[in-house]
Symmetry: C2
Subunit: 311 residues, 2 copies
């Protein structure tokens, strides 16, 4: 089947990036939003993404380190080729349609990328309403980070055409996409989604089974938790822990710089999912308290200018 009409549901940070990148790669993109208010909030996000593309592409003319894998496979672009990509970014921005209508969005959709809030109470009615408004051919993927496709498959009316396609933030740079079905996903549609991910400039990372946290977070969460534990127990300070990891493994940064990028609020929300976290005598309780103290002081990470490090 040929993929042409792509719908992104949700205009948040990830939704706007996915929509923009998909349009940038030449697909017809419609963003479905819950309300006129959401449309108003999505527009400046799209404009911000467009400006990042334009600025970064211009930088690439003189600074090879500005190169982003999501823009193109080709290295050493000429100035003309870069201007062509800038033109594509402008066109992408102009051509994205925003609508609150299920019918308008779903009408002739080949693929719908669900990127709405991480809340089953929002996702379930969304899928149920969507199912009434889309043709048989439509494949649906979820970008959910924390919820499993098996939890929603039945509500889509097409469990065999439903799976997860999980993007990373700053999609134009961090161009990986984890592809994960549930037990009822048909391999045929899984393969189509893998192919689509490549066509929009992503490196598809294929999971053969459903796994909470996908591949990356399944490793990142216990790794960061171990680092937090060392600090919360008073074994060593973040600088020493990071230095140990960097020197021993050759990694560019250690766990506390990663935590600053992930954001301490996210790290905190993960830790407090553990029931032990409410008891300060436990390790999880100590980690939660340590993170909360930083968050309360506004030191939530790199975006705030300070987390475990100052920026």
């Amino acid at each position: 089947m040929s993929m042409k009409n792509i719908v992104v549901a949700g205009g948040g940070v990830l939704g706007s990036q996915i929509a923009f990148q998909t349009a940038f790669k030449g697909f017809n993109v419609t963003i479905w939003l819950r309300s006129e208010g959401s449309i108003g909030r999505a527009k400046p996000k799209l404009e911000r993404v467009k400006n990042i593309y334009l600025t970064t592409l211009e930088q690439m003319k003189t600074d090879p380190s500005a190169y982003c894998n999501g823009f193109t496979d080709k290295k050493d672009l000429t100035d003309d080729e870069i201007d062509e990509l800038k033109n594509k970014a402008e066109l992408a921005y102009d051509n994205i349609t925003l609508t609150t209508s299920y019918a308008e969005a779903g009408n002739d959709a080949d693929l719908i990328i669900e990127a709405i809030a991480e809340d089953p109470k929002q996702k379930i009615p969304f899928y149920q309403e969507l199912a009434k408004n889309i043709p048989d051919k439509t494949i649906i993927v979820t970008n959910s980070s924390t919820l499993l496709p098996s939890a929603f498959a039945e509500y889509t009316g097409r469990p065999e055409k439903y799976l997860a396609l999980h993007f990373a933030n700053s999609i134009w740079k961090n161009n990986t996409a984890e592809v994960m079905g549930h037990a009822g996903t048909d391999q045929k549609y899984y393969d189509i989604v893998v192919d689509f991910a490549e066509k929009i400039g992503m490196v598809p990372l294929q999971l053969k089974k459903e796994q909470p946290g996908y591949i990356l977070n399944s490793m990142l969460v216990p790794f960061l938790n171990a680092a937090e534990m060392l600090y919360a127990k008073g074994v060593a300070d973040p600088e020493t822990i990071d230095k140990t990891w960097v020197l021993a493994t050759g990694a560019p940064i250690g766990p506390f710089r990663i935590l600053d990028i992930v954001g301490l609020t996210t790290a905190y929300n993960i830790v407090i999912m553990n029931p032990n976290a409410s008891d300060i005598e436990t390790i999880e309780g100590k980690i939660a308290a340590m993170l909360k103290e930083k968050i309360d002081a506004g030191k939530t990470g790199i975006n705030a200018g300070e987390g475990f490090y100052k920026y």
Copy 2:
């Protein structure tokens, strides 16, 4: 206090490297060994280390990537400076004393680095006998990876002068040394050991509290375990898992290449410490079975030419 006479107890892989590096940096080094047989086995290990130093230093004249942090802080050495270091390696080899006598080794020791087998049944009598043969001034450190200094402090006759100094394999390249006391270690002697670690070209990584696994293994073990879990559960293959980690974190290699370096036998021995590992229905059991299959096929890692990857 001035550190001059250093004893290394044990002439295994790490013991010979620690002894050689310490002599290379100008200290008087004696290796204490249990028997004449051990002396016979230690000598070729020392010669092998010497040859690595000489070959690597010669390489550094033409290949900057051969540079090893443990040799010197200085970058861009002249050929004359390199020849001087080669001379120091020759002198180090010539000047190391090997003995089976506690009295000869301990007599005037400023520091004893214990690097004997990871077996309390060997370590305890060693410390007890040692205590009878050393002066008051002698500081003792253990290079143990898996046992805690608090378990042995009482047998040293000087708990306040006893702590851990934990080296990495290929000490001349991987020049980190984790410094860790037990609750009864005197800060004064801890600081002396930190200073000594710097003087022999190590980057001291300071732990403020006793911690099984120190800093590095406290993070590495759960991280590698998470990766093994993904593969053992059939979620993804080692190549995909490694690619995910490398692309997402910028690390030079992923967990399965690290496992090939660590060695699958070590990884297996860590997993089977978990009682679940004997039940194939558990994750630990699946990981143990997966590793055992590779080990039985001789694929124990990079040293065997094959592990998860071929070399």
